[in-house]
Amino acid sequence: MQVHYDWRLARILNDDGVVIDEILWNSSKSISSVAKRLFELKKGRLSNEAKILFDRFDNVKIHPQGHLDDPNWPEYSNEERELFEKALINMAKLGVAESSGNIDRRMDMLVSSANEIRSAWTTSESRCIEWIGLFLTELNLEIKRKNIIETVAFCDTIQEVATSLETVSPLHTPAHNEWSTMKKHCESVIGLSNRMSDHEDSIRLLALEYIPSLSALLGPLGASKLVVLAGSRERLARMPSGSLQVLGADAAMAAHRNGAPPPKHGSVLFSMPQVSKSPRWVRGKVARYIAGKASIAVRIDHFDGKPWGESEIEEIFKEVKTIIDKFPNPPKRK
């Protein structure tokens, strides 16, 4: 015997396909009640009617797809079809609304937005420095770089900037509109810096809550970048540590597929001083070790383990130092 069911009814059929019993869903049908039922069925659960029939008889199987091979299964009436379609639209709208509760998506928005701001800041800051440098030809653009943009933003004329930065006055001065545009561009760079700080503060708060162990190990910004690169915390937690080690090294991985040596680390691990400040011949070893620990950390975070504290992190960094000290000299070339 087999139970056939959908959201409207359930039937039990004997081995010859004869209907033995049938229960209809008799409650008042609204769009939301149909949506609720369909939502349960989508999770692979049985309808109440199917459960009752299943319990009522012995040696009963459940049709794995509800009823699909049943030639006598009733088609939707016009009313049922309309209710079903409206319920699905409601379910889709609810699903879209629920996606804002997904922390992975919110982290992705924050990190991607921060990356875009950083990129915009780098381009605009370089442009502003070059622009001012065109007029203030004696100004040392390297030493004074950090002060130039703020100075322009707070001065009213280019001569005032020259005086403030202790350099000679320009031979040619920008026209009034040109100066005003330059000044506004510098102000926008300062605005971008402030927005960058706000973004990073938000990322830190979210990461410390969502991935505390990984944040303790890699820093909240690095940890959240890894989650975004992997696609979600779950995907990162299920990823082998070898894949985590090279996250962010897409170009090097593509080259590796064409015969180049494999990358030692991705961009996030390289941003850690334990990797980037180590001698190049131990970077791969350190990156591999940290990737292994990061892999454990994210699994602790995702599968509700006890978050790592300072003592665990200290121990890991002590081990990193041991690895670095173990290989003081570069390997001999073969």
Partner: protein, 181 residues
Amino acid sequence: MAASLLRTKNDPSEMLPKTGENCLYLGASIGGTVSHIHDCICGSGNHHKGHILAVDISPRMMRDLVQLCDKRPGIVPLLADARSITELSPFINKKVDWFHQDLSVADQAKTFVKISEKFLKSGGVGLLSLKGASERVSEGDIKKRFENAEKILKDSRLRIIERIDLRGLEEHHILFNCRME
């Protein structure tokens, strides 16, 4: 889909669903192609009484697709993993006449066979838009990936009517036009 209609050596209308038919579209995205299929099977206001179940996993795509469904009766949106039989079956009341799979994931041919064998009626049209770049690199180059997919289709209950190479119109894409036995 449009590229395959241009490239097919058979009658292009054989690939399209007929008016009033029941269709399943996996990987509907924001519903660009789905709206054209809707023109074929439903007509304005769905006076032909056709039905399309448009499935996508992305809430971002679903957001736009829902708006399309509001405007075009007959298209029903479903936010679900198109690879999961369990997630799809409560929404399919009877086996479909026409099925198109357009997913950017690995194992496209296996998914296509699995879904077709469950939900496509005998004699129904199954179209697989195969994206070589979405398959695993470990399977080999693009040509090898297409060969693997074709072998999976040949070993199934589906009959390949035509393999349409879309090179020049859509790179690294092939469309398999199949019928369920």
